[in-house]
Amino acid sequence: MNSAEIERLKELLPTSLGSAEVREQIAADILRRSVFSARMECARYLADVRETVAQMLEGTLDQASARDRLEGILEQMGHSMSDEGGLKNPASIRRLNLVLETQTQMAASVARLQGQTPAVVEEWPAWELERQEARALPRPDWAARWYLAGQSVGWKGALPAHIGGRMVALKSSPIWQALGDGVGGFKDTLGNPYPPFAYSSGMGWTDLSRRECIELGLDVEGAGMPAGSASLAPSEDEIDEVAKRFGFGDFGEGLL
């Protein structure tokens, strides 16, 4: 399945909750398989986001055009077209960039996870986490995040790194989930064992060959398939059950 197909398979999760509340109250697996935008209750808009992101992943729509399209839809819905309010304003340029970038990064990561076969893992047993996209204000704490995540899993399958060292681990290492969970108290993570790990992050994976892994001292014989390659198609019942459990009975337009 390619990344655009994966995006189109996602369910919509209209919600009046903010990002941190969403993460605390809705199961990570449901979030992983849904398109949602904090405090956005309109399912129709989320469906437009999903299709826009799918087209970006097909390479038929650039980011400025994608923003332009969503701005037009938000304007039709009666949103203020002021660019003020930062991330809290669904129509702000910053917020639209965040939604588009996070969704495309996540779909590409899931497509990558689904593509892993025993043969691919045998040839490239590990990933290196490195900066792949420039950011105006890059987080300065990735080395600390790596260190704390590594400590929490006893460096299982991961290269014990001193602050500032290379961030390398087997694809099967639990460090990826720990990093996505924000071990160490990082509140900006997405709960996923794959990039972008945290909101607006420009960090991503590079495959490392078996030879490079051996040179770095990783135990490639212990390499296995990556965890977290969950399906992206939750059933309506699953979402409905979660919605009821957390008391979000009334979603306006309802779950699609």
Binding site: M1, N2, S3, A4, M56, L57, E58, G59, T60, L61, D62, Q63, A64, S65, R67, D68, E71, G72, M81, S82, D83, A91, I93, E101, T104, Q105, A108, A111, R112, G115, T117, P118, A119, V120, E122, E123, W124, Q132, E133, A134, A136, G204, T206, D207
Partner: protein, 194 residues
């Protein structure tokens, strides 16, 4: 843009694949697909670092089109092929000239100022710019916060961007990347079986 790797492997490897069972062929194609995807990511990132001419000339921050696209390259394998998806708008310019025409407007807006770079007219207006077209002229100007009017966009009926083969690696590089990876994996399997 999608690249199909079966067309890029050596005839010898293609012959070998025909004799192998379906599952193993898919395994080998997954190795070829991953090798090409990883190679393309590295190549395009390097190319991205060599560019940004327009952004630099305008004093603007690059949009990161190539780097973002490289990070989102994915692939899929089957028993007959692997497809690598390069989600970068206009990447086909690596193979031919590309003529761009407006889809839902009368003219293309080509940014000629840092403020306009990477933004549509509507966005600039949302950011507080008053954008206007001087009568009979083929450009847009704008003013913000009562400041001086500034030239923002040139208006064009179409723009042709010239072919740039360096946007993607050569056919030989692509072919060698795929063939080497698949052949290496096959050799590893043969050695393991022995």
């Amino acid at each position: 843009m999608e690249l199909f790797i079966s067309a890029k492997i050596s005839p010898k490897l293609r012959g070998l694949l025909l004799e192998e069972p379906v599952d193993y062929r898919k395994e080998l194609f997954s190795v070829g697909g991953n090798a090409l995807a990883e190679g393309l990511k590295r190549y395009i990132r390097r190319q991205a670092d060599l560019r940004h001419d327009t952004a630099r000339r305008l004093g603007a921050r690059p949009t990161g089109l190539l780097r973002k696209g490289a990070a989102r390259i994915t692939w899929m394998a089957s028993a007959n092929d692997a497809t690598v998806n390069v989600p970068i708008v206009g990447i086909s310019r690596a193979f031919h000239d590309l003529t761009i025409r407006p889809r839902n407007a009368k003219a293309l807006t080509i940014p000629v100022a840092d403020a306009a770079y990477g933004h549509r007219v509507r966005e600039l207006q949302r950011m507080g710019w008053q954008v206007f077209r001087p009568r009979g002229r083929d450009f847009l100007m704008g003013r913000k916060d009562g400041g001086e009017a500034k030239l923002l966009y040139a208006l064009r009926k179409s723009v042709t961007v010239r072919k740039d083969r360096t946007l993607l690696p050569t056919d030989d590089q692509v072919s060698a990347t795929i063939t080497n990876a698949m052949a290496r994996h096959h050799a590893r399997k043969v050695v393991s079986a022995a």
